[in-house]
Symmetry: C2
Subunit: 331 residues, 2 copies
DNA sequence: GTGAAAGCGCTAACAT
DNA sequence: ATGTTAGCGCTTTCAC
């Protein structure tokens, strides 16, 4: 593969000139430019990004660290985010290095260290559950960082989140409006921001309708299919008339149980799930859901990151994207 | 960030020695080693991968190019592959650069060129529909390549595919065994290997049961929800008693139509879909599907790639992973 | 058993 | 308006 030196030689100019032609970084007379372009073409020259990175300390690459659990449907959420990020990045000539913390705090540290070694220009991270923010201090390198989806306690810096509270409020309100007073709530592990926010929305709605909060209607467990299934079973025994599942995997688990028991939805029990995918429309009845703007989340995050990479010094921003309650036949 | 030079100075050795200690690439006396490790620790030294890449022409990074269509459920399939790849790579100290061709042949070329500029050590590519293999000749760099999912015509090189033909054969056979003789078939665009293979399986099964092939039972269209919906409608008018949808998006579209028409599944019409996700179990009745081993596909592909990167010269291999027909209530 | 030094391909400060 | 050249941080050949 041809180097800048060979191009310079062929065009009878210095490597500096070639470099400046490529990068548009200082004036070059038109005829000279022409010669250089010609030479580049003839040699099928492509700049070596690695050398460029080494010299300029800029890699045109950003890292994305997501917490995927193998075999978990939530993959879809983060992958949709990755997709949004990749799109914006491509438009701006950047690359994406994808990495996975497996929802494991050890692995997360390791992967960040790997990134630190690579000259990434920025990092988007969806933190592992329960991570509190000692990020900045020792762990992170000297690139900008945008945290998404979950906010580690006390993290100072740019964050892009989904307004889970509001959307859950809307969803639960719609149930209350229809007269439901015993609304079961299936939650993933509490203590992480996303779970807590959602439960907050549930409580807000109850308060708005002056319905007393009852502990027995709240069931918490690991965010798994199995657990969603079991908690739905427990809630039925509590005599709820409606069910809200606060994440996608548990929604599936709960639906699986209801299906098996041949519970009539929405007559015997109304159901609202979390996250919207095509197949939600295909269930019978079509499932009402809270839809998170995952693709937009990715886009927003990387847009903010790019701003920082360009040197923006404005104060740290917390962007809150609205989620949408979509009412279908199940509620 | 400390450099190898500073480490060398602090340890009173040459940079060569430090390098060799790090890489275990020639003998270093134990006491010297000790000094070097000590210095590295004190300086919190981490090797600069970019410099290393430049010098050694090895980046410990591989590229993945997938054809995602925005908003398409098939994302899930490729993302699951990405996930498998990432896992194997991490175990081997490699990184993954993720890129998207958007199922667009122009973009695919561009992205490959970007890769060529980056010192990737290898590439896994799920080619855009209809790509024929002029890959090697001009486009690809001098890194090993593994092609997955679809095989471009005449491509010579390592390929990892799914045995779609066999699985489709199994699925359609099960319908025939139950007495169905008018089996509608919904296909994505024909002419790409995955579609053709699947249709081949359908035909194989008919032949096996001596059922004549009828053109009117085969409906082809773009692999979209909308199209799946419409083709299902057309097939019902042809009087089919069973329906096979040859990809996941169209499965959703078809199901949506059947749901809307309140067609009783499987009594009025039996249905088999493509690709298995949790929510297939949750539909009523649970959907019978052909399940592709997507995660394994990613793993296998990158394992083969790693072998090549280590210099394996064995003949090009075509790996065919078995897909599984899973029978549930819908058929 | 270890060191000196060239050089990977590029950018950018300094010259002219 | 363009050229010279010193490095970025590392690996690796050659030398001792």
């Amino acid at each position: 593969m041809a180097s800048i030196k060979e191009v310079a030689k062929k065009a009878n100019v210095s490597t500096a000139t070639v470099s400046h032609v490529i990068n548009g970084t200082r004036f070059v007379a038109d005829p000279t430019k022409e010669k250089v372009f010609q030479a580049m073409k003839e040699l099928d020259y492509r700049p070596n990004m690695v050398a460029r990175s080494l010299r300029s300390r800029k890699s045109y690459t950003i890292g994305l660290l997501v917490p995927l659990v193998a075999d978990d449907t939530s993959n879809f959420f983060f992958m949709s985010i990755a997709n949004g990020i990749e799109q914006v990045l491509k438009e701006n000539g950047y690359n994406l290095i994808l990495s996975n913390s497996n929802e494991n705090i050890e692995t997360e540290r390791e992967q960040i260290e790997v990134f630190n070694t690579q000259f990434i220009d920025g990092l988007v991270i969806a933190p592992v559950n329960g991570m509190d923010a000692n990020y900045e201090k020792d762990l992170l390198g000297d690139y900008p960082v945008v945290v998404i989806d979950r906010k580690p306690s006390e993290f100072q810096g740019d964050v892009v989140l989904v307004n889970n509270r509001k959307a859950t409020y809307d969803a639960v309100s719609s149930l209350l409006k229809k007269g439901h007073r015993s609304i079961g709530y299936i939650s993933g592990a509490l203590g992480i921001t996303t779970s807590d926010e959602r439960l907050g929305g549930y409580k807000d709605a109850l308060k708005e309708y002056s319905v007393p909060f009852e502990h027995r209607f709240i069931k918490e467990g690991p965010a798994t299919f199995r657990s969603g299934y079991e908690l739905a079973s427990k809630l039925l025994k509590e005599g709820v008339t409606a069910l809200f599942a606060a994440n996608n995997v548990m929604t599936m688990g709960a639906m699986s149980f209801l299906q098996e028991q041949k519970v009539n939805i929405p007559n015997e029990i109304a159901v609202i799930g979390y996250d919207d995918y095509d197949w939600m429309k295909v269930m019978s009845p079509p499932l009402s859901v809270v839809k998170q703007p995952s693709f937009e989340l990715g886009k927003k995050a990387v847009e903010q990151l790019l701003k920082r990479m360009e040197g923006s010094l404005e104060e740290s921003k917390e962007v809150l994207l609205e989620a949408e309650f979509i009412e279908r036949g199940s509620s």
